[in-house]
């Protein structure tokens, strides 16, 4: 746990068809991205990633201590950065977690311009997450 960041350009699993997903999940207004978004399905996540330049996805579980400690940090980052925070409950979305190879929580996955750019298992300090997000915001 708490290891270094593994940067690997994984292909996102699951094909995404823009039209369908956009129809199903209308474009969120800026107000909504001030708070972490709760991902409801794989298509929903794809739509979020496609819609926003920088998205930090938090694969979490209610029973995980470090996930709870991370919660206020992510809320702050959603408020204060231009990045969007998306939360995936691994108990509800087991297959989605599996598709990203999640084997521990929290797992943090960063997307920039629709591409996965970072993946990390274990909580990270708030300032490092902020740097990470801001590093990809142009």
């Amino acid at each position: 746990m708490y290891c270094t960041i593994h940067t690997k350009p994984l292909n996102r699993l699951g094909a995404y068809t823009g039209v369908m997903a956009t129809d199903a999940y209308p474009e969120p207004s800026d107000d909504q991205t001030e708070k972490p978004l709760h991902v409801e399905s794989e298509d929903h996540l794809d739509a979020i990633v496609d819609e926003h330049d920088v998205v930090l996805v938090d694969f979490y579980a209610d029973w995980c201590g470090p996930c709870k400690m991370l919660e206020p940090v992510l809320e702050e980052l959603a408020r204060e950065t231009e990045g969007v925070i998306a939360k995936v409950d691994v108990d509800g979305l087991t297959q989605l977690a599996g598709a990203y190879g999640v084997r521990g929580v929290p797992t943090l996955v960063l997307f920039a311009d629709g591409e996965q750019v970072e993946q990390h298992t274990g909580a990270l300090p708030g300032d490092r997450l902020r740097d990470l997000i801001e590093g990809y915001i142009e």
Partner: protein, 360 residues
Amino acid sequence: MNGDSNAPVRDVVIVGTGVAGLSAAVYAARADLEPLVLEGPEPGGQLTLTTDVENFLGFPEGVGGMELIQRGKEQASRFGAEFVHGTVADATLDDRPFELHLSNGETRRTRALIVATGASARWVGAEGEADLMGYGVSTCATCDGAFHRGDDVLVIGGGDSAMEEALFLTKFADSVTVVHRRDELRASEVMAKRARDHDGVSFRWNSELLEIHGSKDEGVTGVTLISHPDGYPRQKLEASPTGDGPADRAAKTRETGGIEREFLDVGGIFYGVGHVPNTDFLEGTAVELADTGHIETQAGMTTETTLDGVFAAGDVMDPDYRQAITSAGTGSMAALDAEDWLEQPAASGSIAASEAIADD
């Protein structure tokens, strides 16, 4: 570093938000010292990784480690402690006020410093662990156990944390095997008995982890274990003579003769082999560290370190007890010690003041 000599000077900065840091924060806040508390890379510390704490006084039914921490933070905030995210990269402690340089480039200044940075999980040193940490190798059973439903998993270690991990993992895993380098456990009697009596937990004595097999995509697929009838097999493997003469070869056979290697199919590996104190940022300062990396405190009942104005609490200074309740205890002691010290003339900030006292 942007030598920010204009940063406001605090009376006390507490580094760490585990049970020691929080307890120090409650006491310092109640003493109106308006402590600044730096929350680092592992917010809440080791207690956030445990299940129930059964031996904290006042909770006959046990209390969740996470709950204890959240309540502690709430309590410290209520009395006015200020929490910010920040990891101390290094510290300038030669001059007063002290300067803490954070990894995000900021500088914090303080008259008194309480170090409660705790200790982080030790890694075994097996081949492949760095690549697979987070991909089937874990230091947190409560975080990652649920991803091993139906797997055969290993727990490495023989202490209380290892037993707790093993017992927790039986909820998910098909089989849990504790791998320990000796033939007896270090765990407390109650935990050892619970693990030994559990049908889902088995033991491999005198064995150690040598290699972890797998990939980031597949996760962990297996391990190579080594064992020796007298225990500590890795030590014997490393100590074996490397020379090539006949005598060396004979000695090598004698030393490594009893070593056996074995490949096992497992899907998860959980480390419970102790912790390393987080004191890197104090290297090269006047705060003396023990060989183990722990902060040395002065003899007797005190949290004073070898540098006036720097106090230490919790696992970062305690290689022996390492309990939630003892950390809470030393945390409160550090705040009281800091409060006491701040009332002395030496704490006012000028070197002249401390020299004047030395001259008396």
